[in-house]
């Protein structure tokens, strides 16, 4: 038996050192640009599912050295314009955030700072005439929601509970796509739909979920925090939304419809660096064919979902990706059936 010893020669050290030096400078040389100054302004803590997706994408770009990212969370809607102005005055070049509750005021600020690019979550469309520097986005992840619905259809006996915050377009859209997916497999499935009138009341969401489980639901669509907890306590299944929650509920969460903000943010940053940023709707970057959403891996439920259901998921996923099938965008308020 011989033992290879690793010795460092002077020449090797010099060569290696030179290579390391080149490698270290390579990315900087390739980018040839200062990190873009970027700020996130959020009305909720960065733990919130929806905002966490934006925060993670921004942190990733920061780690890659593309942006210089800072953020302010828990900003009241009435305070939102002030925080926007502060960042603009501080020389930030890109602001991301959500203005669902401060649409008019935030758009006024955008007009005041034409040199700053704004990428904001909004219920309305961009207006190139008034705000050429404002692009909007939303989590258009109906593709993934639809696929998660197919999985749910394969796992339920036919009674599904859905707890939502408020029936606004982005919530309705995903619920409707999910329901359409369920009906692919179980055409006669019954849905119990409730809105709790709050984004942040997990105890209330949990109570509402308990009521639905008492009412016969054997699978919960977990749009809010709290629903998965009720499902876990009563031993019924759940489907996650926006983030992958299976880690916390390995026994009950089958899969989740994931939102990826990276394509949206990367496109905006590239546009700014290329000097082509303009008023645009970035919603399509959340579509599945843009990589903006996906179905979470089955993980602990691998092999527990019927094979023909997973075949259907794969078939629809392929069809969505090649454009031969489009999930309908339906923003109407879903009702119990």
């Amino acid at each position: 038996m011989t033992i290879r010893t690793f010795t460092i020669s002077r020449r090797g050290l010099l060569l290696g050192g030179a290579a390391a030096l080149v490698a270290a400078n390579l990315p900087r040389g390739l980018m040839a640009q200062e990190p873009l100054k970027m700020a996130g302004i959020y009305t909720v803590p960065v733990e919130q599912q929806w905002v966490s997706r934006i925060h993670i994408a921004a942190e990733a770009l920061k780690a890659a050295g593309t942006v210089d990212y800072s953020f302010t969370e828990n900003v009241a809607n009435t305070d939102y314009p002030r925080v926007m102005r502060e960042y603009c005055e501080a020389g930030v070049k890109l602001i991301v955030g959500e203005i669902f509750g401060a649409e008019a005021e935030a758009r006024e600020v955008c007009a005041e700072y034409p040199d700053v690019a704004f990428l904001l979550g909004s219920s309305f469309m961009p207006d190139a005439a008034a705000n050429p520097n404002l692009s909007v986005f939303d989590n258009y992840i109906q593709d993934a929601a639809y696929l998660s619905g197919i999985v749910a259809g394969g796992m339920t006996k036919g009674n599904i509970g859905m707890v939502g915050g408020f029936p606004i377009p982005e919530v309705n859209r995903l619920m409707n796509a999910f329901m359409a997916g369920v009906r692919e497999v179980k055409a006669d499935a019954k849905f119990q739909v409730s809105f709790i009138g709050s984004w942040f009341d997990p105890p209330k969401a949990k109570e509402t979920a308990f009521a639905m489980i008492d009412g016969g639901a054997d699978l919960m669509y977990a749009e809010r925090f709290g629903v998965s907890d009720a499902a876990k306590e009563r031993g019924v299944l759940a489907i996650g939304n926006v983030i992958d929650t299976q880690g916390d509920y390995p026994e009950t969460v089958v899969t989740s419809a994931l939102w990826h903000f990276e394509p949206t943010l990367n496109a905006a940053v590239a546009a700014i660096q290329g000097g082509t940023f303009k008023a645009d709707n970035y919603g399509t970057y959340s579509f599945m064919n843009a990589g903006g959403c996906s179905l979470a891996p089955l993980g602990t439920f691998e092999g527990k979902v019927p094979a023909e259901v997973m075949a259907k998921v794969a078939e629809k996923e392929a069809a969505i990706k090649d454009g031969s099938f489009t999930v309908a965008i339906d923003d109407t308020e879903p009702k119990s059936s």
Binding site: V44, P45, V46, E47, S52, H55, I56, E73, N74, P167, Q192, V193, S194, F195, I196, G197, S198, W199, F200, D201, P202, P203, K204, K206, E207, T208, F210, A211, M212, D214, G215, F225, G226, D229, I243, T245, D248, K335, S336, S337
Partner: protein, 314 residues
């Protein structure tokens, strides 16, 4: 109509009623003690937030669940001390101080949360109180399910009994009630008005904080900034509803919780598909306001409520 009867006779409905009522009962008792002593405590909403945060954080850091309850109570008492210092010896406006305490406590909670957990993407969870198995009781057919509650819920109801006993059957309770009616008479008896009022506010704030902690330690397992969601204001109304009497206030809390549990379930009946959901969400409040009108006609407001006492002033 049958659907409503079915809901009302189901054990799971009553289990939900008791669950929803528990934090309200704790916080309402806290507010009631303050108001019987003559101090309106509008800091309740924020004190519940700080209780929810402190209790949860203590358990997350490794304390046992009851240790978390104790920490929540201590945190609430600290804000009670602040409130009572400003309102009792200094005699400042109880409205302004109360709202100020609510703002301070709420933002302190989010500040402390971010300092202690700077880099989390999903709120951490703790192992909350589990439903208690009471020998004999838990095995009964219908009652067993309805009374499948956590130890903190049992503690909430026991606390209501304790507060009632304390207020009406002990000399201390008599003094607290008297200081809310006629502080000069209490002073004449050689008792300290300042001490009694401050003590009542501090103790009451401790109870409010435990009510908040119920949300993070029993009803749920993680802390969210806005999770108290107006429950504190409901408790203020419940004190008035209960005509400043513990027993009636508990009934009020149960009634409100029953309306709430009912509306959640009504949404899934054919009625739910026909009417907008906002109507159901508003139902507990509408019905409570109606009940408030009926109940408050014979209410006896503590005579010295919101009247600061200055020693020797005529």
């Amino acid at each position: 109509m049958n659907a409503v009867v079915d809901i009302l006779i189901s054990a799971s409905f009553w289990a939900a009623v008791i669950r929803i009522a528990s934090p309200l009962i704790l916080a309402t008792m806290g507010e009631l003690i303050c108001e019987r002593a003559g101090v309106l405590n509008l800091g309740i909403e924020g004190i519940m937030v700080i209780g929810a945060f402190a209790g949860w954080m203590a358990v997350y850091q490794g304390l046992p669940l009851w240790g978390g309850v104790a920490v929540a109570m201590a945190a609430g008492m600290l804000f009670g001390l602040l409130h009572s210092t400003l309102t009792v010896p200094f005699g400042l406006s109880q409205h302004v101080v109360g709202l100020g305490v609510t703002l301070l406590a709420t933002s302190s909670a989010s500040f402390a949360y971010r300092l202690m957990l700077p880099e989390v993407t999903s709120p951490p969870k703790i192992a909350p109180f589990q439903p208690l198995h009471v020998p004999g009781l838990s095995d009964l057919p219908w009652l067993g399910e309805a009374l499948s509650q956590t130890a903190l819920t049992w503690a909430a109801f026991a606390m209501a009994g304790l507060v009632a006993f304390m207020l009406y059957r002990t000399p201390l309770g008599l003094a607290v009630r008297a200081v809310g009616e006629n502080p000069a008479a209490v002073e004449a008896q050689g008792l300290s008005v300042t001490g009694l009022r401050m003590g009542a506010v501090i103790a009451g704030s401790g109870l409010m904080a435990v009510g908040g902690a119920f949300l993070t330690l029993s009803a749920f397992s993680s802390f969210f900034f806005e999770m108290v969601n107006g429950r504190g204001w409901i408790c203020i109304a419940l004190v008035v509803f209960g005509a400043w009497r513990p027993g009636k206030a508990v009934l009020g809390a149960i009634l409100f919780a029953a309306f709430d549990a009912l509306q959640i379930r009504l949404q899934q009946t054919p009625l739910g598909a026909a009417l907008p959901y906002q109507l159901f969400l508003a139902l507990p409040f509408i019905l409570s306001i109606l009940a408030l009108i009926l109940m408050s006609r014979r209410a006896e407001v503590p005579a010295a409520l919101m009247v600061p006492y200055n020693k020797g002033e005529r």
